[in-house]
Amino acid sequence: MNNTPWSQANQALKESHYELLCLTATADDTITATWLNPADGSQQSLNVPVIDQHFPSLTPTLLEVAWDEREIHDLFGYLPEGHPDLRPLVRTPRWPERFFPLKNASVDPPPWRALEPDNPAVTVQGEGVTIMKVGPSHAGIIESGHFIFSLIGENVLHLDAHLFQNHRGVEAQLEGLTVSEVAPLISRLCAADTVSHQTNWALAVESLSDFEASQTLEWRRIVLLESERILSHLNDLAQIPAGVGFQVAHQRALAIKEYWQRGLLLIYGHRFLFDTVKPGWAHPGSAEDMIALLDAMAPKWKAWRALVEGHHGFQDRMEGVGIVQPIDAVHFGAQGVAARAAGKAFDARTVLPWYRSFDLQPSISLAGDVKARFSVRLNELDESFRLVEQACTLLRQKGNLLAGNDLTQGASGRVITFTESPHGLNVHDVVLNAGHVTRYHVRAGTYRNWPLLAKTVAGNTVADFPLINKSFELCYSCNDR
């Protein structure tokens, strides 16, 4: 099974350090793997046909697609032959047996079965092992996920993370929509990565319409994308001290985040930047107001950074906890901060041509622990402040080019677009037919990091889980869709 031409071809690209953008199934019985060459930004797509509902699994040789193939199995009914773990991922026992929402034409709510939604969990058996179940509803204000821990004493032996509690069926809902109907849904896929999702959709339509973005439009998008990174990183940085009871740092970070959001509300009309990027368009904002906001933020941010970096107890608490091995970051296809804090240097911004003149300095660490993820985020936040300022300065000097109009016309074709969201490489695989969506697949930044988080937690104490979890700070919404 491991030696099919399909698996060899994919394997070869992985070994040449290509980055897997997405593994997508389409209802015409085809599986497509699309890879990115990080050296020049070119893409390479490979296909395999689905024959009699079967296709050869890549998972035995390409660990990172284990979830993708389970998802395809659940939503299309295509069976990845040779997959070592075909437990349901998205579907639950409540789903009718022959209901495959992305394969069957009808996407009406099916007659759900009167069963519990829980899928079988992998647990450790043996003397002294206890099973601790957490979720899907939680004691704090967090998204829904179900975590099944196997513990021995305080130590985590295994974590089985059952996500997709928030699965709404967005990809199926998008099918059939027109270009102008898509934008509000994509904008609300995930509040933490909304600008990144909106930009991916805009890039898709623009590419299929042969629209050429002006520099003004590109700079506006950089301001928005980096403003979102500042917002999300502030939120995520605030959570890490909360995980160890360092309340002063937690509350102060929330206050800084609030200050930033009030600025965004004034400049862009929304506290999370919903509906600020569309095909052919980006919210103009005001470069002057943004620069003023940056100036007002700087002392608050510097004081907070000094507080957390100067607190030895806090720094010690993070060190050596939740270590991601660099080899795992590669095998799991890790993305974003979790990957860069474990030595995997990939940042999608370095291959996007419109970022090229900004001389981005990716922040890397080799340690792979909570402390490394924390400090990579600190550095990235400072870098985003710099990028926003640089783009705003350009906009002030020569940003009066026409920034384009809303594109709503009937494009056709398939395109794969990506940006670096605050949570990592975010990919959209879009198929349009005369301006209508016929397939829309979203591979969010967190998707490959969830299985890596589960692996990382094993070997740590259960009390470290909140800390490790918050240092990854993976969102659920665009993962579950």
Binding site: T92, R94, P101, V107, D108, P109, P110, W112, E116, P117, P136, S137, A139, G140, I141, I142, E143, S144, F164, Q165, N166, H167, R168, G169, V170, A172, Q173, P184, L185, R188, L189, C190, A191, A192, T194, N235, Q251, R252, L254, A255, K257, E258, Q261, R271, F272, F274, C475, Y476, S477, D480
Partner: protein, 134 residues
């Protein structure tokens, strides 16, 4: 329970939100809005709660959990739909695995996501005007 009720302890459940509603709830408990000063708080257990607050369009997978949490809250109690998704007017309510919002809410707080200042206003007004439904 009478109309002089001064506080409302809330148990939150995410029914498939985009996390925008969660982030605003977190802001409400932060230093700028500090909802606790008005007797409003998010609590860890439904046993300590007077109200269930759901966000999101209520996915099929979370529908059972939402109702179980509701059952665990002692009466008199309140059902709050927080945000357009839970209120049944969000963008994902027609997705196949979405139940289209929280069933039978006593109180709807609209917005995508609701503005934190408005949330405090709505909850305080509600407390002034109403007793918890038994």
């Amino acid at each position: 329970m009478t109309k002089t009720q001064r506080s409302l302890q809330i148990r939150h459940v995410d029914g498939g939100s985009c996390n925008g509603c969660e982030q605003e709830l977190a802001a409400l408990t932060g230093p700028d809005y500090d909802m606790q000063q008005f007797g409003l708080d998010i609590v860890a257990s439904p046993r300590h709660a007077d109200a269930l607050l759901a966000t999101g369009p209520v996915t099929d997978t979370m529908a059972t959990a939402v109702e179980r949490v509701w059952d665990a809250v002692a009466a008199p109690k309140l059902r709050i739909a927080f945000g357009d998704c839970a209120a049944g007017c969000g963008v994902f309510q027609h997705a196949y695995a979405s139940h289209g919002g929280l069933d039978d809410p006593d109180l709807v707080i609209p917005g995508c996501p609701p503005d934190p200042k408005a949330v405090i206003q709505v909850l305080r007004q509600w407390l002034k005007a109403n007793a918890l439904p038994s």
